[in-house]
Amino acid sequence: MKIAVEDLRVRLGGRDILHGVGFAAEPGTVTALVGPNGSGKTTLLRALSGMLPHRGRVRFGTRATAPREAIGYMAQDTAGRAVLTVFEVVLLGRLSRLGVKVSEGDLAAASRALDVVGVAHLAEAHIGELSGGQRQLVHFAQVLAREPKVILLDEPTSALDLRNQLHLLDLVRRETRARGLTTIVTLHDLNAAARFADRLVVLHDGRLARCGVPETVIDDDLLAEVWGVAARVTLDDQALPTVIPLGALAAGSSRPAAPAPGGLA
């Protein structure tokens, strides 16, 4: 299901958060949504998920709205203190299909999702007893159990260790390709975004700064303009950009505010 966004505007609490954003995402591809804090990434995802009123044009395939069960949205905050087992949380991904008696198909979908994500060993644990990273994996399993056409993930790797970050991003890409999903993911790590996404959409102050394949989007000008960071961008042996941050820039300058010896801002 292709997603086409044109001139998307969102106003929240009397403030314009998105001032007319446009881009397109194709089925079977992963789009990474990147940008500094407060640039409107989460708002954009929530608007696409149908949870926020918005103006402008959003099309899912040939339709103006996607059916709720076709969208799998994973919120940034996965905290919660429900006395529910992991299996039950994943099963809730099937919410619109669940009846008083749970069908075999729903049970099988939940089981499959637990296995695919690799959290089956946690199935009988209470969700509140898990670490933040484990909860993130469980909520991703919930998204998969939904068997959606569109996946919207808000910072799905924020609580994950390095190995699980690679595991989850790889899994997202594999599922996207295998099931022809349209996937949009917000990420903070530009290097991970460049390696894992087919396309990047860069937001800055609620506007589209750039969009396209990673190698054309990421360069040192972009880092200075959008993030206010001095950085060296090199290409690796697969011609993918690698960002080496040098330091934060003072507002309005193009030089590092304070040289950071370790290279990280």
């Binding site: 069960e69 919120a75 905050d77 299996f87 039950e88 809730l92 619109s96 089981s111």
Partner: protein
């Protein structure tokens, strides 16, 4: 990935569901026993077997049948029905307000009812109705008024749990102050009547009142049951429930309306017996988890059992007299509840 149609975790979850159904069955059986003992307990001694025979109409014994059917059964049945209503409303309130302290009484419903009852006790002489009808009616009206106000204020604040709690607590204090004002101006006799009403008592039960409360529970339960999975999803938090397709504001307001009617009916006929509404959901949560298909009936059964036991205790503390059940419920319930909370290793809140 397992290829079979019923992978391991699905069948172990089904086993869990079977265990939960068995637990519900055990609580139901205990409640039935408590019910019979409740009917047997009182100034005139009846054996539980004689009571069981009379209830099931196996044998006929004039004296036993009279005591059982016209005096004790409506009271004992009222304990079950009111206990179930309070357990259920507490469970739903704790879910929709995301707060372990919530019960049907949290949002000013009980204090509204208390004010309504006090109003009739003080000024009832001017009414064309007898007090027996006017007190519950006025209690129900003011409880509903309190709920409607909370509902309206909460809705204008976007139906958030915080908005509802703030509105509810404000009304609670308002109605308490109004009740205090009535107590201040009341005659000593009226003052005593108000205080006694506020204690809560099951002895006000009649077959007619029982039918009203039971009917309301029977009508409201299916409405809640239809929302069971949505309420379970709400336990994950508003944002996640919304992402799963739940219209959170509507679900919260619909459930609140259902719960308010049940609470108002319960409190109107028996006064304030609040503690059941807090303790029953916790007991259900610890034993059954929060899959609402088990949690809601579990909280209702636990409420019925607790109030039935409290009813037995209220008749046993002082032989020949009935101790106010609201006091007994708290005195027995609180230590039991604290032990339960302290003994559990898992964090339920």
């Amino acid at each position: 990935m397992t290829g079979s149609a019923t992978p391991d975790h699905a069948s172990s979850w089904r086993r869990l569901a079977r265990r939960r159904r068995a637990a519900l069955g055990i609580v139901a059986a205990l409640t039935a026993v408590a019910f019979v003992v409740d009917v047997a307990t009182g100034p005139a001694f009846l054996s539980p077997m004689a009571v069981a025979r009379s209830i099931l109409r196996v044998t006929e014994d004039r004296t036993v049948d009279t005591i059982v059917w016209s005096i004790r059964l409506p009271i004992a049945a009222m304990a079950l029905v009111v206990g179930a209503a309070l357990g259920l409303t507490g469970a739903v309130m704790q879910t929709i307000l995301a707060n372990p302290l919530a019960s049907g009484y949290t949002l000013g419903v009980a204090s509204g009812a208390g004010f309504g009852a006090s109003l009739v006790i003080v000024f009832g002489a001017f009414l064309p109705l007898g007090e027996a009808e006017a007190i519950p009616l006025s209690a129900f009206l003011f409880a509903s008024l309190a709920s409607a106000l909370v509902w309206g204020i909460g809705r204008s604040r976007g139906s958030t749990p915080e908005g509802l709690v703030l509105a509810g607590v404000a009304l609670l204090f308002l109605f308490q102050a109004l009740t205090s004002l009535l107590q201040f101006v009341a005659t000593p006799e009226a003052l005593a009547a108000i205080v006694f009403w506020l204690f809560g008592s099951l002895t006000r039960a009649t077959w007619g009142r029982l039918a009203v409360v039971a009917g309301l529970v029977a009508v409201m339960l299916p409405i809640l049951a239809l929302d069971a999975w949505k309420l379970t999803a709400l336990k994950l938090g508003d944002e996640k429930a919304r992402a799963l397709g739940v219209d959170v504001a509507r679900l919260r307001m619909r459930s609140l309306a259902v719960v308010s009617v049940l609470t108002a009916a319960a409190v109107a006929f028996v006064g304030t017996i609040g503690f059941v509404g807090i303790v029953a959901p916790h007991v259900a949560r610890m034993t059954l988890g929060e899959d609402q298909r088990f949690f809601l009936p579990g909280a209702a059964l636990a409420g019925a059992l607790v109030l039935s036991l409290a009813s037995i205790a209220s008749k046993s503390v002082v032989p020949g007299a009935i101790f106010p059940i609201g006091i007994v419920t708290a005195l027995i319930g609180v230590p039991f509840f604290l032990v339960l909370v302290m003994r559990t290793r898992r964090a339920y809140w």
